[in-house]
């Protein structure tokens, strides 16, 4: 499943799940959402079951229920992608490199939200300054309608995606991300 979308801020994005289990998960849904034990035996059960169960929990937790559909019929879900607000604000901490990293970081978060039906209401950039410590930090703020446990579950689900992305950054960019950029998730 590859999603193509566009925002006024980031231009065209290609949101492509990396894990095979995601497409397996969709196959499972298209089969009508039967219990995992009765899923297609050609699917490698253990690996799939574990990851699909996580996805199932995520979907249920985020308030979107499974719908039984006739075989072969695909459900279309409208998902709103909020723009990344304040990315163009002027601040010394927002260098071109930081903006570049923020746009990619934002795309990872939005991609995961699309995959898991996590409701993102707003995404914005802010600069955080701890008055007791001489340091500025750029934060990517995500506001959601989800509950605390849903938001934290979503947050933790980002860990592997962030690791994968950071591992592909060069040393300088990795350091900038680790040191100068942080994620905030606020819920209801």
């Amino acid at each position: 499943m590859t999603l193509y979308t566009e925002t006024p801020v980031a231009g065209e994005l290609v949101l492509e799940p990396r894990h095979r289990s995601i497409s397996q998960f969709w196959r499972w849904r298209e089969k009508g959402g039967e219990a995992l034990e009765t899923a297609d035996p050609s699917i490698r059960f253990l690996n799939f079951a574990e990851q699909a169960a996580q996805e199932q929990n995520a979907v249920i937790t985020y308030g979107t229920s499974f719908t039984t559909l006739p075989r072969g019929e695909k459900k279309r879900v409208a998902v709103v992608i909020p723009p990344l607000e304040d990315i163009n604000m002027h601040h010394p901490a927002l260098t071109s490199k930081v903006r570049y990293l923020l746009r990619n970081f934002w795309a990872i978060i939005v991609s995961k939200a699309l995959q898991t039906y996590f409701p993102i209401g707003k995404t914005s950039i802010a600069v955080f300054s701890d008055t007791s410590e001489d340091r500025l930090q750029v934060v990517l703020r995500v506001l959601t309608e989800a509950s605390a446990s849903q938001a934290v579950a979503f947050w933790e689900s980002l860990e592997s995606d962030i690791h994968e992305w950071v591992s592909r950054l060069n040393d300088r960019d990795r350091l900038i991300f680790l040191r100068d950029i942080s994620l905030r998730i606020h819920w209801q």
Binding site: F128, T131, E133, Q137, L143, L178, R184
Partner: protein, 152 residues
């Protein structure tokens, strides 16, 4: 000699405040601050021992070097709050816990230093009660993980 103070008592105290329906803004701001300090102190002591007993100059130097936190000789070394947040990632390679503690830190800075209500609207909150409740929920979820942090 008495036993060391358990910083999770700050967390319990913050919970008492937030559960009190008549808590005013001063009380709720204090609860946010105590909730952050509870998690921060638990994380710090897990990483470096009680009161940073095991935080040697060598470990501090290593963390500063890994994150190039001290880029100029004249620049003063960063405080222990940032150090603990970086140390979580340095020791565990875990972004989430590090960012979550950082979010609590921002809440504490807002609660202790920001007198206008702008910090509430920035994060979609209508009141300090909402902010305090979110902070307590986050602290509740990450406190057990802070306790489990491996030491240096």
């Amino acid at each position: 000699m008495s036993q060391s103070f358990d910083p999770t008592e700050f967390f319990s105290f913050a919970g008492l405040i937030v559960r009190e329906s008549s808590a005013n803004e001063a009380a709720l701001r204090s609860a946010i601050s105590r909730a952050y300090y509870s998690v921060y102190l638990v994380a710090r002591d897990s990483l470096f021992g009680t009161d940073e007993a095991r935080l040697t100059a060598g470990i501090r130097k290593r963390i500063n070097r890994n994150y190039q936190l001290k880029t100029h000789k004249k620049q003063r070394e960063l405080g222990t709050h940032a150090l603990v947040i970086f140390a979580i990632h340095d020791r565990t390679n875990n972004f989430t816990l590090s960012h979550q503690l950082d979010q609590l830190r921002e809440a504490r800075v807002d609660a202790d230093y920001k007198m206008s209500q702008k910090c509430l609207s920035n994060i979609g909150k209508q009141s300090w009660r909402e902010y305090a409740e979110e902070t307590m929920q986050l602290a509740t979820l990450i406190l057990p993980r802070a306790k489990m942090l491996p030491s240096y």
